[in-house]
């Protein structure tokens, strides 16, 4: 893949698309790591966290405030953003996790909708959006760029992709080789039996909430830089793209989730240069998720589930 001269394969001008591929991979990295965070929590607790994006957005707004309105060092703001995600997620998990534990996954998911609404309300109240209020949260890593295959790449984009890769690999290894990871998998199988076997179920679940929250905070920190503006509504609905990735991975497989995240990111970015498609490119995650859902359910005839409990 040498790139000094432009080349066309399948009638596509790859030279022209390069910057979009870089952007797509970086976005896809954030989607992938968010998807992994969602899948791990779902496996451990049965909760599909729809507040994932709102938590990240809240953390990012706090970091923005610390950078622009206080004289504290910037790294402290970044750490706070990530830690905020962990703490809020953990607090929700400790407060409401046990109460929802025996309920249907649908009800558990709607509980996190409540958390998302509360966070959205707080953000809309304390940090209203408006034409004059465009916020930016640039990371220092964005100002360092280098050229790769003839495309400009900045270090935030590298970090996003690399972090997603590392997170997926480490989580996979963690689930397979550590005691805590084994406990996660046992709870995913059957919570009651796991508890009978002497696993401290609540503590294990709390660790999942905390870990997943840290990932939410990190995603909230990385995404505003990649999409150039800090808009809490856009960040809140990051959860949709991440959900698309998680659904492609059947809410089970971390590596397929990773690949799904990259696919969603690439699809979203590669539509951008084509004028006729650009307006519809943000629909890419939705369409991919719908296709994944329909594909998953192709063999099912009767749904055996107890809802409305």
């Amino acid at each position: 893949m040498h790139s000094v001269v432009g080349f066309a394969v399948f009638g596509v001008d790859w030279e022209f698309l390069k910057p979009y591929i870089v952007l797509g991979l970086a976005l896809g990295g954030v989607y992938a790591l968010s998807g992994v965070g969602i899948v791990v929590l779902y496996q451990a607790t049965g909760v599909l966290n729809l507040a994932f994006g709102a938590i990240g957005a809240c953390g990012a707004l706090i970091a923005y405030w610390m950078i622009n309105h206080t004289s504290w060092p910037h790294w402290l703001a970044y750490v706070t953003c990530i830690a905020f995600g962990g703490v809020v997620n953990l607090a929700y998990g400790l407060l409401f996790g046990p109460a929802f534990a025996a309920r249907d996954p649908l009800v558990k998911m709607m509980g996190t909708l409540g958390l998302a609404l509360i966070l959205l309300g707080i953000m809309a109240w304390r940090a209203p959006v408006g034409g004059a209020f465009a916020r930016f949260l640039p990371l220092p890593s964005s100002s360092h760029t280098f050229t790769l295959f003839g495309a400009f790449v900045n270090w935030t984009q590298v970090i996003a992709l690399a972090f997603a890769l590392v997170l997926t690999a480490v989580t996979t290894a963690f689930l397979r080789y550590t005691n805590l990871g084994t406990a996660y998998r046992a709870i995913a199988n059957d919570r009651e039996i796991t508890a009978t076997l002497g696993v401290p179920v609540r503590r294990v679940e709390a660790s999942a909430w905390f870990g997943s929250g840290l990932v939410a905070g990190a995603a909230g920190l990385l995404l505003p830089d990649l999409i150039t503006s800090l808009d809490y509504a856009a960040l809140t609905f990051l959860v949709i793209a991440a959900l698309a990735a998680a659904l492609i991975g059947r809410l089970q497989s971390l590596w397929v989730t990773f690949a799904g995240g990259l696919a969603v990111g690439l699809a979203q970015a590669l539509f951008a240069p084509y004028a006729s498609l650009a307006r519809y490119r943000s629909a890419a995650p939705f369409v991919l998720a719908i296709l994944a859902l329909l594909w998953l359910s192709r063999h099912r005839v009767v749904t055996i589930t107890r809802t409305a409990r």
């Binding site: 509980g111 909708l113 409540g114 609404l117 509504a233 519809y280 998720a289 719908i290 359910s297």
Partner: protein, 361 residues
């Protein structure tokens, strides 16, 4: 309920069982009549902005009615009702600019269009279980929102989208209201009547054969299948009914605002709609009225009347949703009368103690 009736009884007996004239139903009928009288004659006299708000309340109670039926009766959850509402508003606007159809025809046509869209979404989605169905409708709603932002609402142009970059705003008529209800107050009364008809349709469904089939499906799908309930038909029926109601609400909304814009619909609306529906109560039709009040009247009270930041409403909805899910699955419509009865009993006992010599501590 009437689920245990043996087959072989005639339609007249079925009708009698559906609307039997015992004391309870007479009281309930009176309550509904008084409520409607207050809604039609007293509420519009409070003030102009109140009338507009109450129009929105009536419109949103129609759409929450559909959503409540879907979740409370059949156990299907849809996070995409706002998308159907948007499609309804769009269709009504487009049809109104293109044709001179009378308003009731417009209502039915819009309902038919969203009904078709709802069935189209529902057909493949029907085999998904609760969680996945909620997700696929959320995704569909998101996709509709993207398309809406791209093509926006018609503004008097030609073609399918009915949109032009150089609109002649001075010559653009708003979406036509019914000729008998041009003014705000008259239109409010018209909306209340349409909403009442929708509630009647819902009541007929719940009390009739579809309601029993839905109850069977909600309790256990395999058991319903074994009992000979046509699951696909009745699930699709519920979807179609809820979508139809969303379309009717969309048409009413289009005529209320006149010239709808994409900015007035946000992605988070589908979340707040679900939250208010659950807070209002999904097992009782009154819940839809409560939900309509919550989603439209409460923001108005906060913002215009009390001068509080309306975003507090979102926090309230979030907390209310958690509370309903954990402690009061019947929502306010069931919980409030129960709590009032308890309070009444407490007060009664307290009064008894005081008048009985004050022996209580």
């Amino acid at each position: 309920m009437a689920a245990s009736r043996t087959p072989g009884q005639g339609a007249a007996a079925a009708a009698r069982a559906t609307f039997s004239l015992d004391r309870g139903s007479i009281v309930r009928g009176l309550a509904i009549a008084v409520f409607l009288a207050i809604a039609i004659f007293f509420l519009p006299t409070i003030g102009a902005d109140w009338t507009t708000t109450f129009t929105s309340v009536a419109i949103y109670s129609v759409i929450t009615l559909g959503l409540g039926l879907l979740y409370g009766r059949v156990g299907l959850i849809s996070l995409g009702q706002v998308a159907l509402l948007v499609i309804g508003v769009w269709t009504a606007t487009r049809l109104s600019f293109a044709t001179d159809l009378p308003f009731p025809v417009l209502l039915l046509l819009t309902g038919a269009v969203t009904c078709g869209v709802g069935v189209l979404i529902g057909l493949p989605a029907i085999r998904l279980s609760g969680l996945y169905l909620a997700l696929i409708t959320l995704m569909a709603a998101g996709a509709v929102n993207v398309v809406l932002v791209a093509i926006n609402f018609p503004n008097g142009g030609g073609g399918f989208t009915g949109r032009t970059d150089t609109p002649d705003l001075s010559g653009l008529k708003p979406v036509a209201r019914p000729s008998i209800a041009e003014g705000d107050t008259a239109y409010y009364r018209y909306v209340v009547v349409v909403a009442a008809v929708m509630f009647l349709v819902a009541l007929l469904h719940v009390r009739g054969k579809p309601g029993r089939a839905w109850a069977a499906i909600r309790e256990s799908e395999p058991a319903a299948l074994a009992a000979g309930v046509n699951i696909v038909l009745y699930k699709l029926w519920a979807f179609a009914l809820a979508s139809f109601m969303a379309g009717v609400a969309g048409c009413l909304l289009a005529a209320q605002v006149g010239q709808p814009t994409a900015q007035s619909f946000q992605t988070q609306d589908s979340l707040t709609l679900l939250a208010t529906t659950l807070i209002g109560g999904i097992f009782s039709l009154w819940g839809a009225v409560v939900a309509g009040c919550f989603s439209q009247l409460l923001p108005f009270l906060f913002q215009v009347q009390w001068g509080i930041n309306p975003n507090f409403v979102l926090i309230l909805f979030g907390a209310g949703l958690l509370q309903v899910l954990l402690t009061a699955p019947g929502g306010l419509a069931q919980q409030f009368p129960k709590d009032m009865a308890n309070l009444g009993r407490l007060v009664w006992r307290g009064v008894g103690k005081v008048t009985g010599g004050g022996s209580g501590s």
